[in-house]
């Protein structure tokens, strides 16, 4: 799956409050990208490599690691779930969620007949990524004020924005619409499994947004960008 940092193009205007000089590049922690032989690289990758050889590189943040268990999407989701800087709690909730997903899927696997055993996905990371992909909206709405009235105008969304909306919807759904006694991992795993099968309240919210955008098609020409 595409990681957010690698797809973002370099900024024209640097971040105002960054402690780094704008010429510093993002670090790349994956071991595989350094083991590729020279011939396999495309033009862009070759230019990137040359640029990296000259420019200074930022320090890797504490959430980035070269281990197989660190996934940029999961780290982003954990950070969004975090409250008041309690990363330990957020991380433990995330790992409990993934464990619960695995348990549920393995239970289903053992109960299923022989023919269906291959279709059941047991890898919680695959389920997480697929569920997030299913939740991503294609088109969004933006409020534009014309002549005193505010219209909801359908607008294309960037990749980053889509990923962010999918994760935000999942988290708000799990926080608000759950029973007082259910734990967050349980509710999250439930939602993720539903989203993996294209069911559930988050997918419904996405469809509602698409329908609204379709209904407001007439105002699409208000967009000037």
């Amino acid at each position: 799956c595409h990681s957010p940092a690698s797809l973002a193009p370099r900024r024209i205007m640097p971040v105002r409050w960054s402690r780094y000089n704008p010429s510093y590049l993002e670090p790349e922690a994956k071991k595989e990208s350094y083991q590729k032989p020279l011939e396999e690289l495309t033009e862009e990758e070759r230019e990137q490599m040359e640029l990296k050889a000259v420019r200074p590189i930022k320090a890797a943040p504490p959430s980035l690691s070269s281990s197989v268990f660190s996934d940029p999407m999961i780290s982003k989701f954990t950070n969004m779930m975090m409250k008041s800087g309690n990363k330990v709690l957020a991380r433990s909730l995330m790992s409990q969620t993934l464990e619960l997903i695995k348990r549920k899927q393995v239970e289903k696997y053992h109960k299923a007949p022989e023919k269906e055993k291959e279709t059941i996905e047991c890898n919680p990371y695959v389920i997480f990524h697929q569920a997030l992909k299913n939740c991503q909206p294609i088109i969004g709405l933006s409020s534009i004020t014309r002549g005193g009235k505010t219209y909801q105008v359908p607008v294309p969304l960037t990749d980053n924005r889509r990923r962010f909306l999918a994760m935000k919807w999942l988290i708000t759904e799990c926080r608000e619409h759950k029973h007082r006694r259910t734990m967050m991992p349980e509710k999250l795993s439930q939602e993720l499994l539903l989203a993996f099968n294209n069911e559930g309240p988050v997918i419904k919210r996405k469809h509602v947004l698409h329908k609204m955008a379709e209904a407001n098609r007439a105002y699409a020409h208000f967009r000037w960008w």
Partner: protein
């Protein structure tokens, strides 16, 4: 010419006031330069040195000797520098005696910026015309790969200094986009000179760091040390060869010292990246900072120590993975009039 008998005070004031007022006239600056040169010769005679070969560094040393100052602010101490460094460069008055401006773009408000954009676009059209001519004559259009890695564009502040007028962020980004478009065309070599005015060399190969050789202790085991810091934490790590992968921090095993998984992951990051998890032993000491800062400091220290065990190529890979850079992020200070570094006090209507 008709002599204006009754002029409004407003018109008179406008003629004198100037946009970007000329605080120092040319005559004044010339006089300052003459006085500076005279003073330089006097100073050289006073110090007993040759007036002809008296450089700026000698002047600074002489002034520091003759006027010793205990002030903390370096800029408050006595200073003797060439007037062009002391008085900032400024624009002369843009219009003549009759009130008619010299430059044809004066009434746009940003005359130098727009004239620059016009020039650059002219060069772009030139290049395109040249390209079309080459295609007409069926000559091959070669694309020379410029060194994009070795140069950078002028920053906004440098551009402002060059144009002697304020440039907004949008204008600056538009100018840079135009330059990039110019550079991306195949026959941009014609305008190489013009482009070089706006690009600067990036100092290549920033500080070749000397990697220390391995040291050997009494048992003949190779080891190397490294120091690291993060926020307020300072750490030293000693990495031994032929080990089992045991890591000790301040005499305590990492499993007890860092109960959080993320910190242990950070400690093992350099080893896992190089694929040497079970091969090295590590003994570290760390002080200051919090839980995560100490882990980051030890990570940097161990990465620096591992440089001696590993080939240069792998050192370069480690640098590109962000393992060898000191993290400059520190806690931002609290400002007066605000509750924290960013948070403002609650806004009360009355």
């Amino acid at each position: 010419t008709l002599r204006q008998i009754c002029t409004t005070t407003a018109v008179q004031r406008k003629n004198v006031g100037a946009s970007g007022p000329e605080k120092y006239t040319e005559a004044f600056i010339k006089k300052q330069i003459e006085e500076f040169n005279l003073g330089k010769r006097h100073l050289a005679n006073m110090m007993g040195e040759d007036p002809e070969t008296f450089t700026q560094e000698d002047i600074d040393r002489a002034i520091a000797y003759l006027f010793p100052s205990g002030l903390f602010d370096k800029q408050a101490r006595p200073l003797m520098k060439h007037p062009t460094e002391v008085f900032p460069e400024q624009r002369k008055i843009q219009w003549g005696e009759d009130g008619r401006p010299f430059h044809f773009l004066f009434y746009t408000g940003k005359q130098s910026y727009y004239s620059l954009m016009h020039e650059t676009y002219e060069k772009l059209l030139n290049v395109q015309k040249h390209q079309d001519q080459l295609i007409d004559q069926d000559l091959p259009v070669q694309k020379e790969k410029g060194n994009l890695a070795g140069s950078r564009w002028l920053t906004k502040i440098e551009l402002e200094e060059m144009l002697l007028e304020k440039v907004s962020d949008d204008d600056y980004s538009r100018f840079i986009q135009l330059l990039q478009k110019l550079v991306s065309l195949p026959c941009a070599d014609i305008e190489e000179e013009y482009i070089q005015k706006f690009s600067k060399e990036v100092p290549l190969q920033l500080q070749k760091v000397v990697i220390e050789p391995l040291q050997y202790d009494e048992r003949g085991v190779a080891f190397s040390t490294g120091e690291g810091k993060r926020k307020t934490a300072r750490a030293t790590a000693v990495v031994y060869d032929n080990g089992t992968g045991k890591i000790t921090v301040n005499g305590i095993d990492i499993l007890h010292y860092f109960p959080v998984l993320q910190d242990r992951e950070q400690l093992l990051f350099p080893f896992q990246f190089l694929g040497r998890i079970g091969k090295h032993d590590m003994v570290c000491t760390v002080s200051g900072g919090g839980r995560s800062a100490q882990a980051g400091a030890i990570r940097l220290a161990s990465a620096k120590a591992l440089r001696s065990f590993v080939t240069e190529k792998e050192v370069e890979f480690m640098r590109q993975a962000g393992l060898l850079t000191v993290d400059p992020r520190v806690k931002e200070r609290k400002k007066p009039g605000q509750e924290g570094p960013r948070r403002k006090f609650t806004w009360k209507k009355r």
